[in-house]
Symmetry: C2
Subunit: 291 residues, 2 copies
């Protein structure tokens, strides 16, 4: 790939920080500037050599950028895009790390203006329940999938530059239509997060919550691991992907109702059939797939 001269990472958390680290290791970038809301997080990123420089002047720092990654929660992207649009040089490509794509695209169309053809929407399928620069990892994207959802009017050379950058991080890159992307991730990612948050809250609401959690074991712990994820990020995602998530949630609630009915009628044979089906599906599609 062509080396990136100056990279600006807006939001130096797990996603942005890991991108910076991986490009550094690949010797694919010259200078990295980090921008963000939290002084302490940026200081940590600098200390950990994730970035080379901290800037609090977004407009000033993008004006000679070659590559801009917006890795903030999706709710902040309108303000970020509006702030950088008038200052982006023609040579700069812009991409993002958002978990939803239709809303990010609508936002870019509205706020990036003439720069829109050089914006390549992307979603790296990586992450953990932890957040912040301190958990960034040079290996985060190794063998992970990154989905690009370019539009008709996205420039091919911009797509290539963004694809090459993710590949340099060790990722596999695939393309999807943005609506298809949102439908898929509403089901396989956003729904499980809602399920995990709701399950913890159903227990936490009880007056004897402390005692209840005290008797829990590895089953509950793994089931709700992702309820440790950033509340701000996930609230934004839920709102941004509202229709697809509500559709997925409805199918899940129907499924839960089927199990509830079988428990209610004491139908062990039906429960066993349902659980067998779930076990087989998990075995076939989740256990054997690479991590």
């Amino acid at each position: 790939m062509a080396r990136i001269g100056k990279l600006v990472v807006i939001g130096v958390g797990l996603i942005g920080g890991s991108f910076a680290l991986a490009l550094k290791r690949a010797r694919a970038v010259g200078h990295i500037v980090g921008v963000g809301r939290t002084r302490r997080n940026l200081a940590a990123a600098l200390k950990l050599r994730i970035i080379d420089e901290v800037s609090r002047d977004l407009a000033g720092t993008v004006k000679d950028a070659d590559f801009v990654l917006i890795a903030t929660p999706v709710g902040q992207m309108p303000a970020v895009m509006a702030a950088i649009a008038p200052h982006l040089p023609l040579r700069a490509v812009v991409t993002d790390g958002g978990s939803t794509k239709r809303d990010v695209i609508a936002c870019a169309r509205r706020f990036l203006g003439g720069h829109f053809p050089r914006f390549v929407p992307s979603h790296p399928i990586a992450g953990t329940e932890r957040s912040g620069a301190e958990v960034a990892s040079v290996e985060l994207y190794r063998d992970r999938c990154v989905v690009l959802t370019p539009l008709q009017d996205t420039r091919a050379d911009a797509v290539k530059r963004v694809r090459d950058a993710w590949k340099a991080c060790g990722a596999r890159v695939v393309r999807l239509d943005a609506a298809e992307h949102d439908r898929i991730f509403g089901t396989v990612s956003h729904l499980p997060h809602v399920v995990a948050y709701a399950l913890v809250n159903a227990l936490a609401r009880r007056p004897d919550a402390k005692r209840l959690f005290g008797y829990s074991a590895g089953g509950l712990r793994d089931t709700v691991r992702i309820a440790g994820s950033s509340p701000e990020m996930w609230a934004d995602i839920c709102v941004a992907n509202r229709d697809a998530l509500l559709a997925a949630l409805e199918e899940y609630e129907d499924e839960l109702e089927r199990v509830r009915a079988a428990i209610d009628s004491g139908d062990a044979a039906e429960l066993r059939r349902m659980f067998e089906q779930a076990r087989s599906a998990r075995e076939k599609w989740l256990v054997k797939k690479r991590p």
Copy 2:
């Protein structure tokens, strides 16, 4: 503890097999006989030296037993108890590894007859989504909690012998009232299993299930790990603990409805508040507790 002369393990899977292994290592047992439905599993248990002998004659082998562990799915316990009751010597204590306690106690009262005072209901809070003798582990109970739910008419010396055996396996032993036990585990264990099974099935039911699962990552994988658990065992548990599980499920569905309503109205602030509450509860009660 007093050494166990002859131990009979009925159902040599993860729970029964690990009990046998741990007592052997503690030199707390003389001879171990395994009984079960599946010839291949018993042959594996013998080969792995989990048990010393396989018996297909349940009545014949319990007649000189000192200690009997019933570690079958709860649905098989009536038949097992009815078969052993007439042959148990007075010196034998009987315990079980069932995840529900009121139904096991009712079953023991009905089928163990005069031997009931020497039956000590127990529930080891340990296990994984895998089953069978081959996954038994000498370390399974190390630092884990085992709940005993003895009754008014359970003999104190029987409770002591069963408690000592679990302690010899490395477990901490606590006592609970049976109804309280079922209420607690209906919430912290049985509900998460139902949630995980239903979530997998909601995806598996889709015509494009294969593709959907192909885009999933670690979040979904952990959330549904326990959907790999034994369908037979969990169908039995759901039916046995019907009332407590339905109550827990209803609270969870109410919680899910609150999230759904907030998504539906696009209320990011409310979603953030809910997710923050879940994250704090998880942090406070699940992350810091020992595994």
